[in-house]
Chain length 338, copies 2
Amino acid sequence: MATNKQIHLVSRPHGEPTVDNFKLVEAPVPELKDGQVLVRNHYLSLDPYMRGRMNDAKSYALPQPLNEVMGGGTVGEVVASKSDAFQPGDKVVGMGGWQEYTVISAEQRGMLRKVDTTHIPLSAYLGAVGMPGVTAWYGLVKIIDPKAGQTVVVSAASGAVGTAVGQLAKVRGCRAVGIAGGPDKCKYVVDELGFDACIDYKEHKDLKSLTTALKEACPNGVDGYFENVGGMILDAVMLRLNAFARIALCGMISGYNGEPIPMAAPQLLLTNRVKLEGFIVSEHMEVWPDALKELGTLVATGKLKYRETVAQGIASAPEAFLGLLKGRNFGKQLVKLV
Amino acid sequence: MATNKQIHLVSRPHGEPTVDNFKLVEAPVPELKDGQVLVRNHYLSLDPYMRGRMNDAKSYALPQPLNEVMGGGTVGEVVASKSDAFQPGDKVVGMGGWQEYTVISAEQRGMLRKVDTTHIPLSAYLGAVGMPGVTAWYGLVKIIDPKAGQTVVVSAASGAVGTAVGQLAKVRGCRAVGIAGGPDKCKYVVDELGFDACIDYKEHKDLKSLTTALKEACPNGVDGYFENVGGMILDAVMLRLNAFARIALCGMISGYNGEPIPMAAPQLLLTNRVKLEGFIVSEHMEVWPDALKELGTLVATGKLKYRETVAQGIASAPEAFLGLLKGRNFGKQLVKLV
């Protein structure tokens, strides 16, 4: 019987998490029961929302239980099946967790989904054609709902979600402006993804400097803001909002370790009659078919580009995750398991 | 010819406004031209939004020009008319400004509207059956959209807008909880208006105390929040929001003199998937007929109660307005001119 290497959460962080919060555990791959499928996971997805689940606090996601396999999205291949719905060789996406093999009950609706890798690489189902892509789609299409010619700004612009937000905005005839950390990420966002501009927030240490940069990048103001970061970046964008602007509040990674991230001037939401909405994409399953259809077509035709940072082997997952929280990744952060 | 006493804005405030920003001016009542109507104003409405117009800053309202009559809503009686649309004796509501007489061009659509005082007192057209009432209706019905059994909280609960918010919420089968300043206002809101509870914010000097009081008053959390105040009150309510709560952002009077009013924990908007919307009711004229129909019926049948604080004479308007900004009024602040 094969051995299954897993990463468990063994303690909760106080502030910034460390590798000591995680533990590599070896377990046997269990025997399949009727209706079950054994998946060998090829890629594990690392995502900022996982930081929230490390806490024991009330949030939209249930806390990750201690001493169990960390939850997370995976793509892989069916290697054994006691279900008529899946055959060995099927490529699948699911919530396999931070481990090499996963046993899944095929009947559990939505737990495992076959995917077609003819025109779309398997790993893309964890990124542009997966949860991050649909997240971008929902916030942009359903909350920001931009009109052609409007200006859409997205923070963490080179990340898995941000890259899709800007490119989907460009498809809709908008001016897309990114905010990212460092010249390489900004250059990539503009030169390779086709954003109209990208601001390197590391070059702007105070609100005034960042606001001035936004004014240059958004000469007609900001009509839609897709927020992944919070803190000073949100404050700066709020100073450039147009009347009737929309803010899709997707993440606030600058506060995920408990840092205070007050909003300096909430009265701007009133004076500009802003609509702001916090959301989590798993609560809007009704949009997934439409979103995946557009995202899949755009990826298959080369019109939606993305970049991946790939760590090797399950043991590398904790370190790669901590890097993601610090913005060390460049595009979608994955762990390659095969 | 009659003399027309007016209040002009003669200087802009730095921080808190004073009576010296205003000046009483006597002017002749001009001769009517064809199509014009002369209205003797019976009541002038004083409203928090006027503070914003005293500044020269970009906001939703144009700045009030210096050395001109302060703008404002009025009700009164037509005393002379060179228009077929109005006859002397007609009771009307319009934007007559801080003055005793107003000349209005009858053709200017929406500037002057006849009202029926058979079942509704004239002054109510500046309150429960006027702009404040429609403001309450829009924020509650169109943004908060509460379901029966849900909990709706409103700040400045004894004010012209707040009283209507809570009573409209009760009509819809909600739990209505007010926040107001002082025991008299709180007692009125509960005993006379039928709110389920009211919190005296003056009894709670810190966030923890106010949050604890909210927890008691809202045992099932907060589903909708109608915000008129901002600052610590907003922070406290945000700590009690349920998932998918809605915030109608109508006013933030605690910051109208330039005080910093940061939002302590905007990440709660994300974790609770909150929808927040800033609005100004004059941009939603399409709802006025529906809103006024419900508000008028409720007032005429005694189901929507309100209270007025009435200052006497146009000369008292500046002082009364400054009192309004400090919460010295109790219910709708009016100036009686006749």
